[in-house]
């Protein structure tokens, strides 16, 4: 029996599509991410020296190292990896569905909605409802509003973007009002949250995002093949039995669930969901959703951004969301100029 090319054969009946370039890229990304993780744990004044790291991770840590690992940087790192992966996966699903390289849950108002939800909770029900729940509710509400106001669901990217702008404008105005109305200290905390931050995360945060990730990942893997077909256009997809309508709805639901999970643990971190799938696609030079690689890229990007947020010698420590916003904005600009030169947008 000849082995099918481009597939990884598991046992006698299963074959997972896996091309060699994807496998190599995946391994390279994984290696880079492990290096970034090691750097996150060992750099800086409180870092665990690289030589002690294996011992500390296998349970031989004591005193300062244990505190850094279990309380300070360990949970933050685990939340960072999970959130980055969730955002990367969410973006890959969303961009494939909208067939638009610039579509992402945060471009169409999810982030601003989450910020407004958090602000509403902070202003109206201080202490009664946890801020992340407010963020979650706001994000869902914003997406629902965008969905309803386009009139055609998520199919028309132009409408989606304009509707997203409208919803974002309202959400941002509300955030600004709250930041204006509360005292300065509260306003600073809220502004940091609204930008997305990974500082002071606990193991509960880590558990939340990883549960969301592990629950959604199998569904995402299950629809990945059909999603690839849906990319060829509705008619072709329907002929091949991919049920484009249902696949699309499922993908959007998964995408929003992942983004909302990320928002709940880290606040609205911008641009990871937008850039990770683009980078993954360019690394493999292929078509298709590249869900796994997008998730890996997202995790790597966020861990790197958070490493910068922790270690750059700035007079103040900034929330990681500001780094992703600035760098993601620059990347989006590069993407626009490139597509303009190719004349494809």
């Amino acid at each position: 029996m000849s082995r099918p090319k481009g597939f990884l054969v598991l046992g006698r009946t299963m074959a997972v599509p896996l091309s060699r370039v994807s496998a190599v890229t995946g391994l390279a990304l994984l290696t880079l991410m492990l290096a970034a993780c090691a750097a996150t744990l060992s750099l800086g004044r409180l870092g665990i020296p690289l030589a002690d790291l294996p011992g500390a991770l296998t349970g031989g840590a004591g005193g300062k190292a244990a505190f850094v690992l279990e309380r300070l940087r360990g949970p933050r790192l685990v939340v960072g990896v999970g959130t980055g992966a969730a955002l990367g996966l969410s973006g890959a699903l969303f961009q494939t569905v909208t067939r638009n390289p610039l579509g992402s849950p945060d471009v169409i108002g999810l982030a601003a909605g989450a910020g407004a939800g958090a602000a509403a909770v902070a202003l109206l029900l201080p202490g009664a409802v946890p801020v992340p729940f407010g963020a979650l509710a706001g994000a869902v509400l914003a997406i629902a509003l965008v969905y309803l106001s386009t009139g055609t669901g998520f199919r028309n990217p132009g409408r989606l973007i304009v509707a997203g702008i409208g919803v974002s404008a309202m959400a941002v105005a509300f955030i600004q009002y709250v930041v204006y109305a509360v005292e300065r200290d509260k306003a600073t905390v809220l502004t940091a949250y609204v930008n997305g931050s990974l500082s002071a995360r606990s193991w509960e945060h880590a558990a939340t995002i990883w549960i969301v990730l592990l629950v959604t990942a199998p569904f995402a893997a299950a629809i990945a093949g059909r999603l690839g077909l849906a990319e060829m256009g509705d008619e072709t997809a329907a002929m091949l039995g991919a049920e484009p309508g249902r696949t699309r709805t499922a993908a959007v639901a998964l995408s929003i669930l992942l983004s909302a999970g990320a928002v709940a643990v880290a606040g609205p971190i911008s641009f990871i969901a937008l850039t990770a799938p683009q980078i993954a696609r360019r690394l493999t030079r292929g078509t298709g959703p590249h869900l796994m690689l997008s998730a890996l890229t997202g995790a790597l990007l966020l861990v790197l951004a958070d490493l910068a947020a922790q270690q750059l010698p700035l007079p103040v420590s900034l929330p990681v969301g500001i780094y992703t916003l600035g760098l993601g904005g620059l990347y989006l600009g590069y993407l626009l100029i490139r597509e303009w030169k190719k004349g494809t947008l």
């Binding site: 106001s149 702008i165 916003l325 600035g326 904005g329």
Partner: protein, 346 residues
């Protein structure tokens, strides 16, 4: 919008006199609305006064305390006039220049540029006070506006989505910068959060005077450019054939629009949707002629902004809702309704 143009122009072409007299009537109505808005603006506030009080003060027959209360609302009303004019005329010119119905100072990065300018000046140059920061909002806004225009609409056929995305890019990068600076410096953050919300209150005549030259220059340029912009609406090739130079007109139009919206933003902070909505209302009323559009925008913009400001003073009494928030919550639903009517494929 094109629908309106097609409907209006042929019907009026045969009867220019009827069109002119209709425009005069519209002008009278618009001015009456503006006068009412101004009267409302000096009447309503946290201290109760009636329309009769306001009229008495204007005639000089009111008692001293009522006069003081009503006159304290003069700077606010004057700022509303200037900001509304600046934003609405800027929106009209921008929509004409880019042929893009979504062009608006907020969407095209100008607001973020002004914010970045204000924050930089406060943080690094020790500039303080409303009078001085104005001069830093202007260059910031100008730079951002040019950048968005270059990324978003250079080359052929300025796509609607791309210009908006270019605005989003520039806004994202500048916002990251502004957030980084303000979160690092509590003092800067404190003054910035009051500026960024967009309000007419709490500012005095000095602020108005300092942006008046920029706004005046912008309005003058807008009026002078109007005929050239009419030609531009026929398409670049036709415009060139008629002896106009589309590139120059477009560049000057962008400068005029940026001067106007930067003056408004510098004076009262970012205010959303006036620049987007007023030009659409005006086009529906007066048709495609740009000079008439500019004149009507200059009247209806302030009227709408002052009415929004009055609404903000009334809804949460005795507290106030800043006008920037009121316009966002009126304007965004209007945009969402407009989305449903967009042709697919744009």
């Amino acid at each position: 919008m094109t629908v309106t143009v097609v409907r209006t122009v042929p019907g009026d072409a045969g009867a220019p006199r009827a069109r002119a007299s209709r425009l005069v009537w519209f002008l009278i109505v618009a001015l009456a609305v503006l006068a009412l808005a101004m009267l409302a603006s000096i009447t309503f506030g946290s201290l109760p006064t009636s329309v009769g009080d306001a009229v008495d003060v204007l005639r000089g027959t009111a008692d001293e305390s009522t006069t003081a209360v009503v006159q304290s609302r003069y700077p606010r009303t004057a700022l509303g006039l200037l900001a509304g004019l600046g934003l609405a005329v800027a929106g009209t010119i921008m929509q004409g220049v880019t042929r893009n119905p979504l062009a608006d100072p907020g969407l095209l990065g100008i607001t973020a540029g002004a914010s970045a300018g204000v924050v930089s000046a406060t943080a690094f140059l020790g500039v303080s006070g409303q009078w001085n920061t104005v001069w830093w909002a202007l260059p910031g806004a100008l730079l951002a506006g040019v950048l968005v225009h270059v990324i978003g609409s250079a080359g052929s056929g300025a796509g609607l989505a791309r210009l908006v995305l270019a605005g989003a890019v520039v806004t994202a990068v500048l916002t990251a910068y502004v957030q980084a600076v303000t979160l690092g410096m509590p003092k800067v953050f404190d003054s910035y959060r009051y500026w960024v919300v967009g309000a007419l209150g709490g500012r005095d005549f000095d602020v108005l005077l300092s942006v008046l030259p920029a706004a005046g220059l912008g309005l003058l340029m807008a009026l002078l450019l109007a005929p050239a912009l009419n030609t531009l609406a026929l398409g670049d090739e036709t415009a060139s054939a008629l002896g106009a130079s589309p590139g120059l007109t477009r560049a000057l139009g962008l400068v005029a629009a940026t001067l106007l919206s930067a003056a408004a933003t510098a004076a009262v902070g970012p205010i959303a949707f006036i620049g987007l909505a007023v030009p659409h209302i005006v086009k529906a009323v007066v048709g495609a002629e740009v000079r008439a559009q500019v004149v009507f925008s200059a009247i209806l913009g302030p009227a709408l902004l002052l009415l929004a400001d009055v609404a903000g003073r009334v809804v949460l009494r005795p507290q106030e809702l800043m006008v920037g928030i009121v316009t966002a919550f009126i304007g965004a639903p209007a945009l969402l309704v407009a989305v449903r009517r967009m042709r697919s494929g744009t």
